[in-house]
Amino acid sequence: MGPLSPPSPLSDNPQPPRSPQSPQSAQLTDILISLRDRVMGVSESVLSTVDGLLVVADADTVHPESVAALAAATLGVSRRIAEQAKIGALREVVARCGSGHVIVLAVGERALLTVVGDDGLDIATFQRESPATVEELTKVLAADVAY
Amino acid sequence: MSTAVEASLARFLDSPGVTGVALVDAVTGLTYGVAGDTAEAGDGSESSEFAALVAERLGRAGAEGELESVVTTSLRRHQVLVTVGRPAGDPLLLTAGLDRARVNLALAARSMGDLAGEVLA
């Protein structure tokens, strides 16, 4: 198993060039970037809807639209399995992998946050910081209620 | 600090004239083990910095490949630095002090090179 090979810095980034963002999107992205700053080991994150649509992303190697679709499915299935087990409401889904982690958590009723972390993800700090992050994201998203 | 490393290093002391030998991290200068006289083996961080400097200069001068060894000679002793390859991980250095009166430098450097390949077993 070798190290992850990222897109070369000067070329072949698979993501389309970023179009200018609305103030709301910029705020949301800033919250994601701030999470990466505050929690060691967070590599990238995607904010998406329960319908599997992308809102914003602080992405590096993942394809945000794909993550958005998968996150909705992941959380949906995980909620159902939690119901089966009758162990209370789902808090977060942590996929622990050979060289990293993927965490999916609900952001309010209609959105999801997917966080990709490396092998040294500071899970303890993440669990301490994520409620505040979720709350901040929820507040900014709430401005969308009028639409 | 170590036992398997020290046991590996102890074999180098069988060579006549080798007074002290150490296994050192070529990047951080950390010493992983010593056999024989510690002072004779040399300071780990100094040795690693010196080897890195030589490697860089040689590289800029057009030398190809990795640095294999450096021999520094003074009135009474040689100090020999030999690069130790690993299947994975940062390179290591064998640093050894040799007594000029007792050592045949060519033989000693050659045997160090040979043993270097097995030091991590």
Partner: protein, 271 residues
């Protein structure tokens, strides 16, 4: 000195060495970590700030995932996992000692940058251990040496491990060594020295030294950590000879609604 009277972490470890303590020391901080002691010697340190011995062995590919899991399954007591790995021929005995010792020193260095706060002693927990463990006195001395060196070469090490380098522009000095090339492949303005260390399965301190050297040679630059608004610059990368754009792209005044699917007579999914 009694361990419970220790004023700081190094003093605590000295006290625990005198007592021959075997167990864990959980340290709070950013990063915090867990120190595994056996007879007062440091066998392993786990911290988000630096890769563990296990992490470097697996990430570098030295030991394959399946071989590793098989060894773990065969050897339940992780304290003896090292012996199992050697017995299975997955790594040399001396080689494993080197990897484990290097990881202990590296993690101690990372921990020291996290301004360790409170600590809590606990029972022994399984871990891949350096055997014999490292003397706390030696650990503290080497950590101090590393911090001094980095401070001389660059500046506050706490800042250095959080800076996010970008590829350099223009003149470089000399050829790119294999190790430096591996690092350059990870440099993209997002990753800190710590992130790069985890990605490559190398030590934090070693990567930091390489980054400093690479910056001196012109292979990379230190990106400013933040621009106004707390957001890293989204300026596009430039080729040598062009002026880099300054700051994030301009923001229009329209607010985007949250994307949503048109409902088709019922909730999507099984909620």
């Amino acid at each position: 000195m009694r361990a419970s009277a220790a004023r700081n972490l190094p003093a605590l470890l000295l006290g625990l060495r005198e007592e021959g303590f075997s167990g864990t020391v959980r340290v709070a901080g950013t990063p915090g970590g867990t120190i595994h002691l056996r007879d007062g010697l440091v066998g392993a340190i786990e911290t988000p700030g630096a890769p563990t011995a296990t992490s470097t062995l697996l990430t570098s590919g030295r030991i394959g995932d399946e071989d590793w899991l098989a060894a773990c399954a065969a050897q339940r007591g992780a304290d003896l996992l090292g012996e199992r790995l050697v017995a299975d021929g997955l790594v040399g005995a001396a080689e494993l000692e080197v990897v484990c010792a290097a990881a202990v020193f590296d993690a101690a260095f990372a921990l020291s940058l996290g301004a360790p706060g409170s600590w809590e002693l606990g029972d022994p927990e399984p871990a891949l251990l350096a055997r014999p463990g490292v003397e706390p006195r030696q650990l503290t001395a080497e950590t101090t040496r590393r911090i001094s060196l980095l401070s001389r070469l660059w500046g506050p090490p706490g800042e250095l491990v959080r800076v996010r380098p970008v590829p350099g522009m223009g003149v470089v000095e000399g050829p790119l060594s294999g190790r430096h090339e591996d690092i350059l492949n990870q440099v993209n303005g997002r990753r800190t020295a710590r992130d790069i260390a985890f990605a490559l399965g190398r030590g934090l301190y070693a990567v930091t030294l390489d980054l400093i050297r690479m910056q001196t040679l012109g292979f990379l630059r230190w990106e400013t950590p933040t621009v106004p608004g707390g957001r890293p610059s989204t300026a596009p990368r430039v080729t040598p000879g062009r002026t880099p754009a300054a700051g994030p792209p301009p923001v229009p005044s329209r607010t985007e609604p949250l994307p949503r699917r048109t409902p088709r007579g019922g909730e999507k999914g099984g909620k």
